[in-house]
């Protein structure tokens, strides 16, 4: 008997060894650890949403290496434009990353002109290339072939001081040709030019964060001391992008700001939705990290989503239109997929492109199954097709059971289908109290409607029984008396 038990145990041990080997330990192919923030503001591990696919350097394209590239833009037709600042040229690739042509200058008034440390570029539907030619204090507008159309130079306006230096850094153009320029040392907002290059004015100003301690300190100081203090001026914008509806997304690098991303409506007000658990500002918790995210680029992805590039930890944060953090990828390092000095983020089809100035290359990220599903579900939700989104959300939950947005998404769809009680559970998992309240209100009303009759019957029966026992007791005492 004992012998057989022993034999069984040995067999079990052998089988368990075999089984351990049967399941291979899957190493994450990403050189970074993906994470997301939960309701309690803890960074919890998450599946990778995007994985590095390849990098593209100048040598890969058969031209000389990039030198301090500063911006990348994908035109609506899918061509990729890389602004290679150090070499004063624009490199045009097709959507399969094959070199089409190099623009290294343009003809202006009969002479050949070149760029001088250009900072940013933008390409519109007609393949017109807008280049912020920082060193030459102008914005150059070229057509698709590289011939000059016009330039925007230092604007003449009463609201600008005479010492004003026009140094455009980044720019974006809306569909009617208005140019939005982020210029160096301009803290009044984004400079707006009309299609002919006339200065219209500023849009969107960063507010100065009030610091009451500093305010009191200032009150107590003498005039001479005050003169030596730092001025509190609003921070400059760091980058801008435009969505198909004509709203300008802008980022600033103010480290103290809780609203470093703005979505400016045509009158310059910030209309970004911030319905997530926490501020839309990149990293919200930093344990060993050197502080808050420094957002240096924003890319509108479509369907209300947008990605921002953080230069502190070299990560990309993607949000949906309601301000929920969808996923985070990227990181510091020297491997393929980690970044040294990222400067710009773009989207080409399904791929995300991040331009790395430190490594002089363009990193191409492709979405994983998780990333694709999240994107699809968010798109469906954005279009109001929540019922279709549910199946995708369920698949997302299989890949990441900690994905709160998926729970909320399913809950909202169930709510739409009037399955209030089921929705309750999902909202509780997703910690969405507002929607939970709505679902609970409906559920409670249903319950009341359904059980009000039973409830009244019970109450009335109880009252009748109570009266009867009283009467009976009285009669008994009377009889006894």
């Amino acid at each position: 008997m004992a012998c057989t038990v022993k034999r069984w145990l040995v067999l079990l041990a052998a089988v368990s060894l075999l089984l351990v080997n049967a399941v291979p330990a899957v190493a994450s192919p990403a050189p970074y650890e993906s994470y997301n923030y939960n309701y309690w503001k803890e960074a919890v591990p998450s599946p990778d949403a995007y994985l590095p696919e390849r990098t593209i350097s100048g040598r890969d394209l058969g031209i000389s290496a990039f030198k301090d590239p500063s911006d990348v833009n994908v035109s609506p037709s899918g061509l990729i434009y890389i602004l290679d600042s150090g070499n004063s040229r624009i490199i045009v690739l097709d959507s399969r990353f094959k070199l089409l042509r190099v623009i290294d200058g343009f003809m202006m008034e009969g002479s050949k002109e070149t760029f001088n440390l250009p900072g940013g570029l933008f390409v519109n539907e007609e393949e017109h290339i807008y280049v912020a030619d920082t060193g030459n204090s102008r914005v150059v507008v070229l057509d698709g072939e590289g011939t000059l159309m016009h330039t925007i130079t230092k604007p003449e306006s009463d609201i600008l001081s005479t010492q004003f230096q026009f140094q455009p850094l980044k720019l974006t153009v809306d569909h009617v040709g208005r140019v939005y320029v982020v210029a160096q040392g301009v803290y009044e907002g984004i400079m707006q030019f009309d299609e002919s290059g006339e200065f219209i004015g500023y849009v969107g100003t960063n507010k100065v964060e009030r610091d009451y301690g500093e305010y009191i300190w200032r009150m107590l100081s003498t005039k001479a001391q005050r003169a030596q203090m730092v001025l509190f001026v609003p921070t400059e914008f760091s980058n801008a992008d435009i969505d198909p509806k004509g709203f300008v997304y802008a980022t600033n690098i103010d480290p103290g700001s809780n609203e470093p991303i703005k979505r400016l409506n045509p009158s310059g007000e910030d209309v970004l939705k911030r319905f997530g658990y926490y501020d839309v500002k990149g990293d919200i918790r930093f344990r060993n990290n050197p502080g808050p995210s420094k957002l240096i680029d924003v890319k509108v992805l479509g369907n209300g989503m947008y990605s921002v590039l953080d230069a502190t930890q070299n990560r990309v944060f993607t949000y949906d239109d309601e301000g929920h953090l969808l996923y985070i990828y990227g990181g510091k390092g020297n491997q393929v997929g980690t970044l040294k000095t990222p400067v710009a983020i773009e989207q080409s089809g399904e791929h995300h492109l991040v331009l790395d100035r430190g490594k002089n290359n363009l990193v191409v990220y492709e979405p994983t199954r998780f990333g694709t599903r999240v994107n699809e579900a968010v798109a469906l939700h954005y279009r109001g097709e929540d019922t279709e989104a549910v199946n995708i959300w369920r698949e997302v939950l299989k890949l990441n059971a900690n994905y709160d947005i998926a729970y909320i998404g399913i809950g909202k769809s169930l709510l739409m289908e009037k399955k209030n009680e089921e929705a309750l559970g999902y909202f509780e998992l997703g910690m969405d109290r507002k929607s939970y309240s709505v679902a609970f209100k409906r559920h409670r009303r249903e319950m009341m409607k359904e059980h009000f009759g039973t409830f009244l019957t019970v109450v009335i029966t109880l009252i009748v029984i109570l009266i009867l026992t009283r009467v009976a007791a009285e009669m008994e005492t009377e009889e006894a008396g």
Binding site: W40, E428, R433, K434, Y436, S437, V438, F440, K441, R444
Partner: protein, 206 residues
């Protein structure tokens, strides 16, 4: 039995001025009731954190720790009683330590009586109605403070102003006790470390 343990405490919370006087002069307070009130308050605090409705419960369930809950209620309770006794002894208060414990314990009764039903009701509330939950919780707190105030006033036979002053002083003394406690604790620790280091030196010498 019923008179002392149920009727009198309920009478006390609605007629505190009479009842606290009865508690002192007629010796009607029971320490058992005071401690039961303390224990039940702790239980209510724990139950509230664990079972209050989702819409009002912002506690991370992973952080609920009954030991800490007990400490956060019981330690201030006894600290209050001790500090109050210390202060009022110097300020001609007539209350004995037992009476202070009784008054403080009995004052906690409204907290229990309001928390218990609110925990149940909060599970059936929607967002708009949660205001009532917070309202009733605040009422419980202010009722407690009011009872404590009247209790202290009656037990020590103070005027209103003097009661307020002693209560504020009690809070300050509570702080001092905590400070001294921390100081003594840290010194004992250093003393232990010192002794342990000498011991280690000695055993490594041989």
């Amino acid at each position: 039995m019923k008179q002392d343990f149920i009727k009198f405490p309920l009478h006390l919370i609605f007629h505190p001025i009479d009842a606290f006087w009865d508690l002192k002069s007629d010796n009607r307070g029971r320490l058992l009731v005071a401690f039961a009130a303390l224990v039940l308050t702790i239980v209510m605090m724990i139950l509230q954190k664990q079972y209050a409705g989702f819409l009002v419960n912002y506690i991370d369930p992973r952080t609920i720790n009954s030991i800490i809950e007990i400490a956060t209620v019981a330690v201030p309770f006894f600290l209050w009683c001790t500090a109050n006794w210390a202060v009022t002894t110097l300020m001609e208060g007539e209350g004995k330590f037992r009476e202070i414990v009784l008054a403080t314990g009995y004052s906690l009764i409204p907290v229990i009586l309001i928390y218990a039903p609110m925990i149940v009701i909060s599970r059936f509330m929607v967002q708009e109605e949660t205001a009532f939950y917070y309202l009733f919780n605040s009422i419980a707190f202010f009722w407690f403070v009011l009872l404590l105030f009247i209790g202290m006033m009656t037990v020590h036979q103070y005027t209103v102003i003097k009661t307020i002053i002693t209560m504020v002083l009690t809070l300050i003394v509570m702080g001092i006790i905590v400070f001294l406690g921390a100081l003594v604790f840290s010194m004992l620790q250093q003393l232990y470390e010192f002794g342990y280091n000498i011991y280690r030196e000695l055993i490594f010498r041989t």
